[in-house]
């Protein structure tokens, strides 16, 4: 059915007006606007005030000239019409023809509104996305910096506690040292959580694949958590199906982290009863297998309305401040499981406990029965004089820690360079068996110094000296960056003293064997 507007006859949608050069109306026909002879058209609407300037442009023209204006909003009293207007200027005066296309233009308006709005919305979303990405980048760089700033003093604390533990301590001192170590390790674990969640969210975490034994991993948990259970007066049982593949291909670090976080969580919220870890084969087809893990506890449990948010970041449903944590543990678990393309479910009953059931996919090597490669052992080559090590480090506490550790071993002489220039100076004057290179140094960083050592000197003693990078920056890809710069190995702060000694021994032994 046509609207009232559309139903008007065409002649009712037009108006013909004749005016003199001064705007005075001499003739009008039509019902669009209430106009009378003798009125000034210029006063009817400001649009018509353009006419004098057009007359000026054409005052010397003898033929008539048409000007067409489309889509002009004209209003008379409260009625607005959208019209096309034709002005014909001749030596006799001006003819004005107005065509009312309000209906047609209103329909176009709706289309234009939708089109422009969608473009502006898309742009707004684009800007929002850009803003969020910049914010995320800032957050990640902030976390990376904070990580570095916290880990540096933590390295010194943990290192000196380890040294302190090996001295003669009375019972109380031993207990205090143990508490300092425990709390420092806890702080270190919290930083690891922060870095992990930051890496996961920025998509920087990569899955690495290696061959490892799930059964050995589970036995390791059995050993560790039996002690935890014993200390807390709980029972802990670990069982697995024999049919699980002996060796699988997957990201052992992440699998360890997932199960460790879940076990840690179970023990944290269980005061009486037991915690169990079970593993069973879900399926094994061709070179693929899926393993189900179940971590069950008899702890506090989770109320049903909180179950959906259990894997959200910073979710801490238990407000007991004695139970420490950032609320990131389960969020990391969920993100890691997603990254490994696994699946996790949780069921829980308040005061009865929780069950976390997860399935993880792995690869398997068909027909291979060879055992997991064991960590190779190295010994320092025999020689009369001690090994000379250059420690390039600007942090006084770390210098002192490394010096104390190495000198105590009895096999090493240690020189310390505070910065890049000093390091180069030392390297040019003395032959070193190994360099421990901090990466973040004032003026020249550790990567640049390494490149210089590797490329600038023709002397093989200098150019081929083993270099181990060490830093508080545990960003993904840092190891690769070090190797690319020419280093032989990499260690993060805080480090286990045995790890550092192992890496130093390994590099010196390898160099001697060449």
């Amino acid at each position: 059915m046509k609207s009232q507007e559309e139903a008007r006859p065409f002649h009712q949608k037009t108006q013909h007006i004749s005016i003199q050069y001064d705007g005075t109306i001499t003739f009008t026909e039509g019902a669009l606007f209430k106009l009378k002879k003798g009125m000034s058209l210029f006063e009817m609407h400001p649009f018509f005030e353009i006419i004098p300037s057009l007359i000026d442009e054409h005052k010397n023209t003898k033929t008539s000239v048409d000007h067409n204006f489309a889509c002009i909003h004209l209003n008379d009293d409260d009625i607005e019409r959208i019209c096309d207007v034709t002005l014909t200027i001749s030596s006799y005066g001006i003819e004005v023809l107005i065509f009312d296309y309000t209906q047609k233009y209103s329909e176009l308006h709706t289309v234009a509104q939708q089109k422009n709005e969608s473009i502006l919305l898309a742009r707004a979303l684009e800007l929002r996305n850009k803003y969020l990405l910049e914010k995320e980048e800032f957050k990640n760089s902030f976390i990376a910096n904070i990580n570095h700033e916290i880990r540096t003093p933590l390295t010194a604390i943990l290192g000196f506690v380890e040294i302190l533990e090996k001295t003669k301590l009375d019972f109380e001192q031993e207990e205090l040292a143990r508490i300092i170590k425990r709390e420092s390790l806890h702080l270190n674990a919290l930083i690891d959580d922060m870095i992990d969640i930051s890496n996961i969210e920025s998509g920087k975490l990569r899955v690495t694949e290696e061959r490892f034994s799930i059964k050995e991993l589970l036995k390791g948990f059995e050993k560790t958590y039996n002690k935890v259970a014993e200390n807390k007066g709980l029972a802990f049982t670990m069982t697995y199906e024999d049919s699980i593949a002996d060796y699988v291909i997957g990201d052992t670090t992440r699998v360890y982290q997932i199960l460790n976080n879940l076990l840690n969580n179970a023990f944290k919220f269980t005061e009486t009863g037991k915690v169990t870890l079970t593993a069973s084969k879900n399926y094994q087809r061709g070179n693929k297998t899926s393993i189900s893990f179940k971590i069950e506890d008899t702890g506090l449990g989770i109320i049903p309305e909180n179950l959906d948010a259990v894997f959200d970041r910073f979710s801490r449903f238990n407000q007991d401040k004695k139970i420490a944590g950032t609320g990131l543990g389960l969020a990391i678990v969920k993100n890691l499981i997603d990254l490994l393309q696994g699946d996790i479910k949780v069921t829980s009953e308040v005061d009865k406990g929780s069950i976390f059931s997860l399935k993880l996919p792995f690869g398997i090597e068909i027909g291979s029965k060879s055992p997991e490669r064991k960590k190779k052992t190295y010994t320092l080559p025999k020689r009369d004089k001690k090994f000379r090590i250059l420690v390039v480090e600007d942090e006084e506490s770390t210098q002192y820690l490394v010096m104390k550790l190495l000198i105590k071993e009895g096999d090493f002489f240690v020189d310390v360079a505070m910065n890049g220039e000093m390091a180069i100076n030392f390297v040019e004057k003395r032959a070193y068996d190994l360099i421990l290179m901090d990466l973040q140094l004032p003026t020249i960083d550790g990567y640049k110094i390494t490149k210089q050592i590797r490329t600038k000197y023709g002397d093989k003693v200098i150019a081929e000296v083993p270099i181990i990078g060490f830093t508080a920056n545990s960003k993904e890809g840092e190891r690769e960056r070090c190797l690319k710069a020419g280093m032989d190995d990499f260690i993060t702060k805080p480090f286990e003293q045995q790890d550092l000694l192992y890496k130093i021994t390994k590099q010196i032994a390898k160099k001697a064997a060449q």
């Binding site: 353009i50 300037s53 067409n68 489309a70 889509c71 002009i72 909003h73 422009n116 502006l120 800007l127």
Partner: protein
């Protein structure tokens, strides 16, 4: 007698031409975005420092991403063009120098002013740096929302048109 000058607002859609128009004419502002179809025309009489009056007839045209799509009839008999862009959206100003060259080419005697609107959404220094990098000269940064520089700009323009 009050003289009159025709001033045309030009620029991309969504840059705030109608908001500037409404802010100047009616001292009003609305967050709702309503597309302008064709052109709406209103006038405002301003008092000049010399005591005289000027009737500014403002043509608020529909926005186009390409200036050449603007109906040429809207530009006839103009005394000034105000090219408005959105200070937060580069696509509304990155081709500004080409657009101004086009306008100068077809209307060499018309005064042209460039306005960076929505300056309440971005730091003025950031906007200036971005425009400087693109070699774009801006006459004024405005905010129709907060009324920053709107009336001052039109009054300065009125002065320039009558001097």
């Amino acid at each position: 007698m009050t003289s009159s000058k025709k001033v045309v607002l030009l620029g991309h859609f969504g840059v705030g031409k109608t908001s500037l128009f409404r802010r100047f004419i009616d001292n009003a502002f609305s967050e709702d975005y309503k597309v302008t179809l064709g052109v709406q025309i209103k006038k405002k009489v301003v008092e000049l420092p010399n005591g005289k009056e000027l009737s500014m007839i403002i043509w608020d045209t529909e926005g186009h991403t390409d200036i050449e799509d603007t109906r040429k009839s809207y530009l006839l008999g103009s005394h000034a063009f105000i090219y408005v862009f959105d200070s937060t959206r580069e696509e509304t100003y990155k081709n500004i120098n080409e657009d101004l060259a086009y306008l100068t080419n077809i209307h060499s005697k018309v005064l042209i002013k460039v306005i960076g609107n929505k300056i309440d959404l971005i730091k003025e220094k950031t906007a200036k740096d971005q425009l400087k990098a693109l070699n774009i000269n801006v006459d004024c940064f405005t905010s129709a929302k907060t009324n920053k520089n709107v009336h001052e700009f039109f009054l300065d323009l009125a002065n320039e048109l009558t001097s």
